[in-house]
Structures are given as structure tokens and as C-alpha cells.
């Protein structure tokens, strides 16, 4: 590594970016040594800058020497020149230091060592002073170079560590692939100052998952990318494989294999990353590959969980469905078989009562199938909410109408707040919500218990409440009644599949509304649902 390869501003650049990262820890702390080394506009050490200035200082000391020659004599002067050497070394580096040492020694010899105006040295003590001056100058130069180099490396290391720290912090902040790609895009651009492209395998081919705006990715690059992905080796610009490309591709490797490819666009084949940035890049790539693997695993785990959940649901569904479908079907088939085979032996009233049973069971079956279909459509997102301004009287009326016979066995009172405006909703769906809630209330209420329906505006929402004096729901089940297939465990409870209320919840939520169940203080249940007065935007 030579000095010229390594422009100092590469580091300062790195530091500027890190400065923007708000982590105070990433700000390198300056020791007094650093301050001294960096005083003023420190040029790259070993540059020719400062040479004229150091010569000027030597000249100045010489001029001063003439003025004060009478006061300070002889070898004491060497100390002044030594100060100049130390200053030049600290300020401008080794070239200036060596030069001021040599020129200082020469000036001293020429002007202030007898015989004056001559380089001849006759006095042995002056010779020692001269050798001392030169030695000190050279040693200081060497030490300065070493110290500055150490400081520079420390700064760079610190910068790299800080860059890496902030990169890994961004990587671990999110587990999703998009968050990781986001972090990669941001940090790679900042630290390496090159347009990049990230390709990850998707199904059986590599697809571009991130591309800097200024990077040109042509179709024929795919061949190089596939090669890199298969071989796990670099290719493209600056390598022996596909050197014609403007992009340098590197594989993202983990212990398990290659998880993707990153490409860096270069300006020319000479525009390569400096070696210690390549080292940093190696670590960045490693971290990226690990993060991608981690995201992949997280996604797989999530998928497995979803599958497991779906599996559990499917089992519950199958259990519920097979039980709930087959029970009424068994009744219907039983009745039909009885009448077909033994019809002649049965009197008419018996036949009628049998048929009545079959009819009721068939209706139950129809209701169940309808609920299952609705649930499936809700979950598949197939139910579309067609919001229109609706009259609440109309909706409640239609629900009561649909309940038909069942609604007449109980006293149902309706109280709608006067001057209630039209409310945006899908009336078909909200009628169904009301029918399901009312059906529930009717099923769980003893014969004469009244049922109340109330509608009013409540903080910018339509609130519809259905209150019954039925058996009530145990406190711990109030939320679970809206779960699929959940049924309150009550002895002798009416038959059902536990779908009605979960459909209600789905339909209300499709309106951006909410539904809840409460226990009433004097017994019974209150179901309330709220619909926003602003139409849902499609």
C-alpha cells in the first residue's frame, strides 16, 4: 500500500457520512495528539506541500539570528533550528522536516559556525551540534510519519467499525427482506459510493430486487449474474470473467451456500475499490448474506405457522361441518326412507309430522351451507362492500322481514333516534348482520323475553344495539363469541355451527366498523355494532 493509492479524503468522506448517522458514539474522539496532528488543514503526509514554508521558516530563523547574534551565541542557535524541524514535521510531514533539518544544518554551518560564510567546520563541538541537529530532524521525521500513519489507520478503523456498526444495526432492525434490501441500498451507496444492483433467487431464476437509479442493467448481464451465482466467484469488470461488463459482480455467500449477487457499477476498469474498502465490503457482504438467510428463515417459519393455523382451522371446520351437515342430513334421509318404505303403514298426521321434521332439518342445513359460503367468501376477500347511503329504518325493517315467523314469537321493539340521517353502508350485508344477531338473540331467549333494537348516532358513528334478556354470555367468552366455530358451552343450548357471529364481525369490519358483546346488569346480552359515517373508500 503506497500513500498515493490512498487519498486521505477517502477517510474524511467516510467520516462525513457517519457524522450524519446521529450516533454520537461514531464520532471519533480526538486526543491532544490528534489535534496536534490535524492542526490547520493537514495535508497528506509526505506531500511536497509545506516545503517552501519550512524553508521560509529556516530563512526567518537565520535572519533573526543575524539580529540577535550578539545576545545568543553559537551552538544555542541550533536549538532554534531544531524547533523549526519539529514544527515542520508536525505541520507538514517528513519531507518538510528533513528539508528543514538539512537546510537548518547548512544555514547554521554557513552563517553561525566559524569560520563564517563557509561550510567548513573546524570546532569539534559545532560538529557534534550539527550532527545532533540532523539526527534529531531525521528521527522526528520518521516518528511523525509513524505517528500520523497510526492515527490515520486508527481513524479509518474507527470509521469502518462505525460504518459496519450502523449497517448491522439497520440490518437487525427489521426481519423482512424489504427492510434488509432497504438497509443494503442505503449503506452500500453511502460507504462505497457506487451504484449497486442486488439480485436474489426467486423461484428458479434470479431477479433484480434493488437497483440504484443510475445503474444500467441490461438483459445480457443476466448471463454473468447466473455464472456468479452458480460458481460463487466474482465476475465482470476488472476480473477475467466477462471483463467487458461495466459492473463488477460479487456473490453473497453464507456457510450454507450462495444467497444472491451484488453488482457494483464502475466508471472504468481502473475504477476499483481500494484494498481496505474491499476488506470492509467483504464484511458488509457477509452481513448482508446472513441477514437475507435470516429473513428467509423467518419467512419460512411464519409460513409454517400460517399453515399450521390453517391446518388447525381446517380440522375444526371439518369436525364442525361433518357433524353439522350430517346430523340434519341424517334426519332428512331418515324421514324420506321411512315414508318411501313404510308410508302405507303410517297415518297422515304421522307422515306430516315426519315431513315437518325433515323440512326443518333441511332448512337448518341450508342456513349452515349459506353461513359456510359467506365465511369462505369473507375470508377469501370475495365480499365487496358496496356502500350507499341507506335509511336505518329500512335496514332494520328488512331484517325483521327476513326473520319472518321467528320474529313474531317474541316481542321486538325498535327505537330509532329521530332525525337520524342516511348512513353509508352496504344494506344487504348489514341486514345480514342484524338477522344473525337477532337470530342469536331469539334462539337464546325464553319465549316471552322482550328483545330491543336501538339505533342512534354516537360520536360520529351509527350505533345499533340489540338487547335481549336471554341466558347471557359468561364474562370470559364475551370476545370469543365472535371467533369462528366458538360456541358457548351451555347445557341444552340450541344447535349451531358457531359461524353466525363471526360472520357479523367480518361484515362489520369490512365496513371499517366494530362489534362487541356485553353482559347486561339485569341479565341478558347486549350486542352493539358501530359503523363510521364516512363512506369507506374503495
Amino acid at each position: 500500500m503506497t500513500q498515493e493509492d490512498f487519498p486521505y479524503d477517502a477517510t474524511s468522506n467516510l467520516l462525513t457520512h457517519l457524522g450524519a448517522d446521529e450516533t454520537p458514539a461514531s464520532q471519533p474522539k480526538m486526543s491532544w495528539k490528534d489535534r496536534l496532528l490535524r492542526m490547520g488543514e493537514a495535508p497528506p503526509i509526505g506531500s511536497w506541500r509545506g516545503v517552501p514554508a519550512s524553508l521560509a521558516i529556516v530563512g526567518l530563523i537565520t535572519m533573526t539570528g543575524f539580529q540577535i547574534e550578539t545576545i545568543i551565541r553559537g551552538s544555542n542557535f541550533a536549538v532554534l533550528y531544531m524547533l523549526a524541524v519539529i514544527f515542520s514535521a508536525l505541520r507538514w510531514g517528513w519531507r518538510a522536516a528533513v528539508l528543514s533539518a538539512v537546510s537548518g544544518a547548512l544555514s547554521f554551518t554557513f552563517f553561525f559556525v566559524p569560520p563564517y560564510r563557509s561550510f567548513a567546520v573546524t570546532d569539534i563541538w559545532y560538529l557534534i551540534t550539527l550532527i545532533g541537529l540532523l539526527t534529531v530532524g531525521l528521527v522526528i521525521s520518521v516518528l511523525t510519519v509513524a505517528a500520523r500513519e497510526d492515527a490515520r489507520l486508527a481513524l479509518r478503523r474507527e470509521a469502518s467499525t462505525a460504518a459496519l456498526y450502523s449497517f448491522t444495526a439497520s440490518l437487525t432492525s427489521g426481519n423482512s427482506l424489504s427492510q434488509i434490501l432497504d438497509a443494503v441500498a442505503r449503506h452500500f451507496a453511502e460507504v462505497f459510493q457506487r451504484p449497486i444492483v442486488v439480485l436474489l433467487p426467486d423461484a428458479d431464476r434470479l431477479t433484480v430486487r434493488f437497483r440504484s437509479a443510475e445503474l444500467v442493467f441490461r438483459d445480457r448481464e443476466n448471463e454473468i449474474v447466473s455464472w456468479v451465482f452458480q460458481k460463487g466467484q466474482e465476475a465482470g469488470c476488472g476480473t477475467e470473467v466477462f471483463p467487458g461488463s461495466r459492473i463488477r459482480y460479487r456473490p453473497l455467500k453464507t456457510g450454507q451456500g450462495i444467497v444472491g449477487v451484488i453488482g457494483f457499477q464502475t466508471k472504468s476498469s481502473k475504477d476499483l475499490l481500494p484494498p481496505d474498502q474491499i476488506e470492509l465490503l467483504g464484511i458488509f457482504m457477509n452481513q448482508t448474506a446472513l441477514a437475507i438467510t435470516r429473513a428467509d428463515l423467518a419467512q419460512k417459519a411464519q409460513r409454517a405457522e400460517v399453515l399450521q393455523e390453517a391446518d388447525k382451522l381446517q380440522k375444526a371446520l371439518l369436525n364442525s361441518v361433518s357433524h353439522n351437515l350430517r346430523t340434519p342430513l341424517a334426519s332428512v334421509l331418515g324421514v324420506l326412507n321411512t315414508i318411501l318404505e313404510d308410508g302405507v303403514h303410517l297415518d297422515l298426521p304421522t307422515q306430516r309430522s315426519l315431513l315437518k321434521t325433515a323440512q326443518e332439518e333441511a332448512k337448518r342445513l341450508d342456513w349452515l351451507v349459506q353461513n359456510l359460503l359467506d365465511m369462505t367468501r369473507l375470508e377469501g376477500g370475495a365480499i365487496r362492500v358496496k356502500t350507499e347511503l341507506c335509511d336505518v329504518h329500512d335496514v332494520i325493517g328488512a331484517a325483521l322481514h327476513q326473520l319472518g315467523e321467528a320474529a313474531h314469537s317474541h316481542s321486538i321493539s325498535v327505537a330509532i333516534a329521530p332525525n337520524l340521517p342516511l348512513v353509508p353502508m352496504d344494506d344487504v350485508l348489514i341486514v345480514q348482520v342484524l338477522v344473525n344477531i337477532l337470530d342469536n338473540a331469539l334462539k337464546y331467549s325464553p319465549g316471552a323475553a322482550p328483545i330491543e333494537i336501538e339505533a342512534r348516532l354516537q360520536t360520529g358513528q351509527l350505533e345499533i344495539r340489540v338487547l335481549d334478556r336471554g341466558r347471557g354470555i359468561p364474562e370470559q367468552d364475551l370476545e370469543r363469541v365472535f371467533d369462528k366455530f366458538f360456541r358457548v358451552a351451555l347445557p341444552g343450548a340450541p344447535k349451531g355451527a358457531g359461524l353466525g357471529l363471526s360472520i357479523c364481525k367480518g361484515l362489520v369490519e369490512a365496513h371499517n366498523g366494530r362489534i362487541l358483546a356485553k353482559r347486561r346488569t339485569l341479565g341478558g346480552t347486549e350486542f352493539a355494532f358501530f359503523l363510521p359515517m364516512e363512506a369507506k373508500r374503495e
Binding site: 359460503l373 347511503l389 341507506c390
Partner: protein
């Protein structure tokens, strides 16, 4: 009150449903003809000249909506759509195209017969005279007056034209679109739709004893409204 001898065409691709409809309708004195596809129905109608058509919405080939449009080119024979829950938009399209009513499967024979009777009865009020009366509600289309239980009811012009549309098509299910077209001219269906709701609501407040349990104007959620008449349309002006 069935009209024995009325001819009904059943258009349905499911043999089981056809058999059930045929049996129950024939036992009530209707004469029945069956078609299993829309194409067949279009061929049969001119020859059989049915008084009413029961039309399945989900036919293979030409669907119920297209059959309705084709028939409405030349005949006003009442059409009752048979649908299953789920094809709401098709159903509304068929009603907009001119079908009179719909029934959602599964339905009982009693409900079917009631709808058939209502649809058959509907053929005629236009010729029946200017006075419409049902269950205490009397509408004089010439004098533009409305009476409820003998009391004059004050309606705004819009409410009146809405009621008039119901009276002219008594017992027919009128879709939102059809009502908007009848009352407002239908140029801006989307804009006028909420006006329809407001006017229905106002009309009910003036005519119905309990607007949540309407007696006259019945809501079919998502589809439209119908004016229900239990008794026959009177053709003789008796109480004016």
C-alpha cells in the same frame, strides 16, 4: 285466487327442480311447459305463448339476463327469476332488463305460488282504470290524490311520482335504477340514488303505521322496492 288454466313456462336446467316445479304448479291447475336452456326457451315462447315465465338465472349458454332482454324486445309476459344467493348483480341486471320479480332458491311452494299470483294479477292495472286501492290506501291517478283510511295524505310532487311508479307497477319488484329512471329521468343514477332513499323514507313516514315494519312499500335489500297489494286492484271508482 289462482288463475286455473294460466300457462307457465319453466326454464331451468336442473331436472330435479323442474320436476318439483312441474308437480307443484300442475297440482294447482296451471298448465306447464318445460325448457332446459335459454335457447330452447326463446324458441318455445312464441309457440306456447305462456302467461308467465319462471326463468333460472344460471342457465348454461344464454343466461337468464339475456333471455329476459331478448323476450322484452317483443313481449311483456311476466318473468320471475329463480336465483341462488350469490349472484346478486346478475339478478339486478335481469330485473333492470325487465324481469318482474325474483325468488332465491331454496324456496317453498307457498311462496312461489304467491309470487305467481301477484305477477299474474299485475297484468291489468294499467287497463284497470285510474283508481288504485289496496288495504286502506287509495291512489287516484287522475285527480292526483292519495288517501289513507279515508284521510287525504299530502305528498310532495317527488313523493307522489314515486308512489305513482309503485302503483303503476303494483307488486312488481322495482330496482333502484328503474325507480330513479321513472321519477328523476335516470340521467344521473349515482347522484340521485340517495334522493330515492330519502323520499322512500319520507313516503313511509306518511303512509306506514310503523316504518320499520312497512305494510305497503317493502324493501328488498340491495335490489329495490315493491308495493305490496293483498287485495285485487279495484277497477271501479267506488269511494271518490
Amino acid at each position: 285466487m289462482s288463475d286455473p288454466g294460466s300457462r307457465i313456462l319453466i326454464v331451468e336446467d336442473e331436472a330435479g327442480i323442474r320436476r318439483f316445479l312441474h308437480a307443484s304448479l300442475e297440482s294447482h291447475g296451471y298448465s306447464i311447459h318445460e325448457a332446459s336452456t335459454g335457447e330452447e326457451a326463446l324458441q318455445v315462447v312464441p309457440a306456447f305463448r305462456p302467461d308467465l315465465i319462471l326463468l333460472d338465472l344460471g342457465l348454461p349458454g344464454i343466461g337468464g339476463k339475456q333471455v329476459t332482454s331478448c323476450l322484452r324486445e317483443w313481449t311483456q309476459t311476466p318473468i320471475i327469476i329463480l336465483s341462488v344467493q350469490g349472484d346478486e348483480s346478475e339478478k339486478i341486471a335481469a330485473l333492470d332488463a325487465g324481469a318482474d320479480d325474483y325468488l332465491t332458491k331454496p324456496f317453498g311452494a307457498g311462496e312461489l305460488l304467491a309470487r305467481i299470483r301477484a305477477a299474474l294479477r299485475r297484468v291489468g292495472p294499467q287497463e284497470g282504470g285510474p283508481i288504485f286501492a289496496t288495504d286502506g290506501l287509495t291512489v287516484d291517478l287522475v285527480g292526483r290524490s292519495v288517501r289513507l283510511g279515508g284521510q287525504e295524505v299530502q305528498l310532495t310532487p317527488t313523493e307522489y311520482s314515486l308512489l305513482k311508479a309503485f302503483v303503476i307497477h303494483a307488486n312488481k319488484l322495482l330496482t333502484h335504477r328503474q325507480l330513479v329512471r321513472e321519477v328523476w329521468g335516470g340521467a344521473h343514477y349515482e347522484d340521485t340514488q340517495h334522493l330515492l332513499r330519502v323520499n322512500i323514507s319520507n313516503l313511509r313516514r306518511k303512509l306506514e303505521a310503523d316504518p320499520t315494519r312497512p305494510h305497503y312499500i317493502i324493501t328488498e335489500p340491495g335490489v329495490g322496492y315493491r308495493l305490496r297489494t293483498e287485495s285485487r286492484v279495484s277497477s271501479a271508482p267506488s269511494n271518490v
